[in-house]
Amino acid sequence: MAHKLPAKDVVVIGLGWTGSILSYELADAGLDVVALERGPWRDTATSFPISYAQDELRFRIQHDMFLRPAQSTVTFRNNRSQTALPVRHLGAFMLGNGAGGGGLHWNAETWRFLPSDFVLRTHLTQRYGANFLPSDMTIQDWGITWDEIEPHYDKFEYLCGTSGTAGNLNGNIQQGGNPFEGPRSRPYPTPAQKQPFSHTLYAKAASELGYKPFPQPSGNLSEAYTNPLGVKLGQCTYCGYCEWFGCANYSKASPQTTVLPALVRKPHFEARTECEVTRINLDSSRKRATGVTYVDTSGTEWEQPADLVILCAFQLFNVQLLLLSGIGQPYDPNTGEGHVGRNFTHQTMSGVIGFFDKDKYNFNPFVASGSIGMCIDEFNGDNFDHGPLGFVGGGYLGQVQTNGRPIETTPLPPDTPAWGAKWKQAQRDNYLSAVTATSGCHASMYSYRENYFDLDPTYKDRFGRPLLRMTMDFHENELKMSAYLTDKFAEIVQHMGARQVVKHYRKGPYDVTAYQTSHLCGGAIMGTDPKSSTINKYLQSWDVPNLFVQGATAFPQNAGYNPTGTVGALAYWSAAAIRSQYLKNPGPLVHA
């Protein structure tokens, strides 16, 4: 029997980016907010201090900051003919754990999606005709427009202090920025980071080939910055320990460096860490959430009643909690009906390694930040004519070489032995003079009928709850698109002056053991129709109006960019709707 606690106005599940933002916004509105976080409290000086933050073995290889699969995991299969097995060692994506969540271990590549990304099905159908899309592709419009979301991108960027060069200021194309971006209302809050040698050389080659290179927008700051909450970030030191790591210098935007210091000063906010929510409770009508049940480290079960429930866990666990709590109709791939679990997407990553003459080129790859890099956007979204190409989607092509960390940075030519003197010699010869973009071709993954989530029939977590089962494979459209982008990227790297360019195409089947990105999307998507979406345009549950579901869970499909900028923008968009509409008149904000 759960011990029942005094009611709160709001319970927030998970204290990563969206949990921190929603907690702040709702506490700021005067509500009594409690956030429940499965992992520990994390703090810069005590959790990843400068004296060991840059420990690749501890954080990258041994996954120090990540969720332990023994605490929770997912099962995986490529298709319905297979039996899914549990992921016992994180591979294709990383799962954050503790205060800060994924916002602690990200690279801080802070992109906006394209205006056309939000109306994708309408846009592609209008341009190429309905028959151009593969029949099993289930892409949807988001239900929001660029003009609606832009102010919230702006708010998230000004929270983070994002460093970048504007490409489109209120419709005016700006020199040096991304000319394809949607019109932005303000420049970036801080100038772009300075670019190291290989990144500069890439931009020069891209320009010579007729492209318009621009610096990747970065949450690793070019200069010290004070955000509107009064929280201050330092200047990035280009140490190259960003993704997989916490930033010891307070210079990477994270909940810790932007929101939490102001949030913990709010008198009506409380965080309870190491408390794992096991279900969202509903009343007998099943139309209203009454709060949540959670378990602390002693195994004691608590019931936390609340008027408003904000689900801010990582994408996978948002979907799992909805399914376990019986909220919304589970998706059925046989009929295509139902919505919880549908439109699960990830990313389509590929790249090349460029080997340069070691006597002429010294790139010092260790001088880097997680979002350093020069990019081109000519092959992203629908910025190019897909008509003759026979696929849709795209991505940015960037020399985004985020680090030269000693264990993983082994840019070796094909046919190098895997060990021994020749391996050592090849490593010595190429470490400083190879171009190995971490996000080379960072491309979209669109949604398909057979890529989805449901509850695993066999495997359970330590509480006896079914694990979430992912069914996921690459489709021909993505593989064709990725091959096209990889060839384009290789041309630019070749033009930089490489003596040898080795292409690494993305190939199927989807491999859950090899890292791509942590950009898992969909499963409880936003939309305009309660039959094909779990949440409305304000991220409010169609079925349970006092539940809001945050994060990339809402994306109907993934674009050719890193998702966090859009996750942050949606969080502010949803928070604004709650503050300005829901609190005055609690109930459905959209009547379908």
Partner: protein, 417 residues
């Protein structure tokens, strides 16, 4: 609860004495809103809650917080209006005498951990305003055995001798050739705010020496020189820098940590800008030290300095920057820093060995922290980097050796953060 008739009686009483204008200056109405509100503000300036509240008890001013002195530990008394265990039954005169003369109810002596040596400057009017405010806080029954000192200090009569030697009850006398702002600053700093309790050196019996505000080691920290001394004091800070530091805990070069972070958090960050500027004006007018540190500085060619320079580059320069100037309001400057250049290196050793969190305030919520290096650098390495920083970029302070570090480690290990 006050009955209407009682209030009416007091109003009548006021009406009777109102013409006696001369007495009105010290006549304080304990139910007047402005008096109570002023009293509340003055308890903030005096940081009364710091000692008189045991935070874990949840009861403000109910006492019981251990107060560390060089002679042993005292527990702070209950100053809520509870008549038996607090001060509810005290007369106004008894209250004023305790605050400003260090005498308890039956003529017993207080220990100067209660800073009556400073509070003696507080005007009777202000003292009664404080009393008026304290009368309004919830009465809490909490019988505190304040005297936990070992023999012979546990005998309160000893304090009569101490008072005879070191204490003179004397109200604040304005200095007429100084500005009203200076005098306001002096009244607060020398009195109610009792800055010297930590910042003025003490003699072997714990009494202030004549080296007013020139820095003193206590509780595992060194409260730095806050005179206008160019190297070790506030000589390089403007009045605005000082006021901003007191208001937010941070300014363009420094950040409050340790004992000062509590003072900022509970007291100075809630003070008016005018009072903070007044205090700053007073500090800026305090003469610095006689001799410059330069005479004792380390030789830059020394091997220790080279080792320290390398450790600084590897471990410190990421935040404090290669030229030592840090980031304003974020990472303190160690270049020209008074804290770094104190003759006594206690604070610097504390921060390097144990780490320190700067204070978070509404004006500067970030509260960045220095990580601990004590687990990671050995005594020689700590001595080297501390000596280097104390003598780099024109800094100058006596070198620190491995023995000093070992001694500091031994002391700090017994202390909580």
């Amino acid at each position: 609860m006050h009955s209407a008739s009682k209030i009416a009686a007091i109003l009548c009483g006021l009406a009777v004495i109102a013409p006696a204008a001369a007495r009105a200056a010290t006549r304080v109405d304990p139910q007047d809103f402005e008096t109570i509100e002023r009293g509340r503000y003055l308890t903030v300036v005096g940081d009364c809650a710091a000692c008189h509240t045991l935070v874990s008890s949840g009861h403000q001013f109910a006492g019981g917080r251990p107060v560390e002195t060089p002679f042993g530990t005292l527990l702070s008394p209950n100053i809520t209006p509870d008549p038996e265990t607090g001060i509810g039954a005290w007369t106004d005169d008894e209250f004023v005498n305790a605050l400003t003369k260090g005498t308890g109810r039956q003529g017993t002596r207080l220990y100067p951990a209660m800073p009556y040596t400073y509070m003696t400057k507080v005007s009777r009017e202000d003292a009664l305003a404080i009393r008026a405010y304290l009368n309004t806080v919830p009465a809490v029954r909490n019988d505190v055995k304040t005297n936990q000192l070992p023999f012979p200090f546990n005998m309160r009569w000893v304090m009569a001798v101490w008072d005879a030697l070191f204490f003179k009850a004397a109200p604040f006398e304005p200095v007429h050739d100084k500005s009203p702002e200076w005098n306001r600053g002096a009244y607060l700093a020398e009195g109610l705010a009792h800055c010297g309790l930590c910042h003025t050196p003490k003699n072997f019996l714990g009494a202030d020496t004549g080296q007013k505000l020139k820095g003193y080691a206590l509780q595992g920290w060194f409260a730095p020189d806050i005179t206008n001394d160019q190297r070790r004091g506030l000589g390089g800070w403007s009045v605005d820098d000082i006021a901003q530091y007191l208001k937010t805990g941070h300014n363009r070069t420094s950040a409050a940590t340790g004992l000062m972070s509590e003072t900022v958090s509970l007291s100075t960050s809630h003070m008016t800008d005018a009072d903070l500027r007044a205090i700053a004006t007073y500090f800026k007018d305090q003469a610095g030290q006689q001799k410059d540190q330069k005479e004792t500085r380390a030789d830059p060619k020394d091997a220790t300095m080279t080792m320290g320079k390398n450790i600084y580059a590897d471990e410190c320069s990421g935040c404090h920057t290669p030229n030592g100037k840090g980031t304003p309001d974020m990472f303190p400057s160690v270049n020209g820093s008074p804290v770094v250049q104190q003759t006594d290196p206690t604070t610097m050793l504390r921060v390097v060995l144990r780490g320190a969190r700067s204070v978070g305030t509404d004006g500067a919520p970030t509260a960045p922290a220095m990580p601990a290096f004590g687990w990671y650098l050995n005594d020689d390495q700590v001595a080297a980097v501390v000596t280097y920083v104390r003598n780099a970029w024109g800094n100058s302070a006596p070198p620190v050796d491995a023995g000093d570090v070992a001694k500091a480690r031994k002391d700090f290990i017994q202390r909580s953060d």
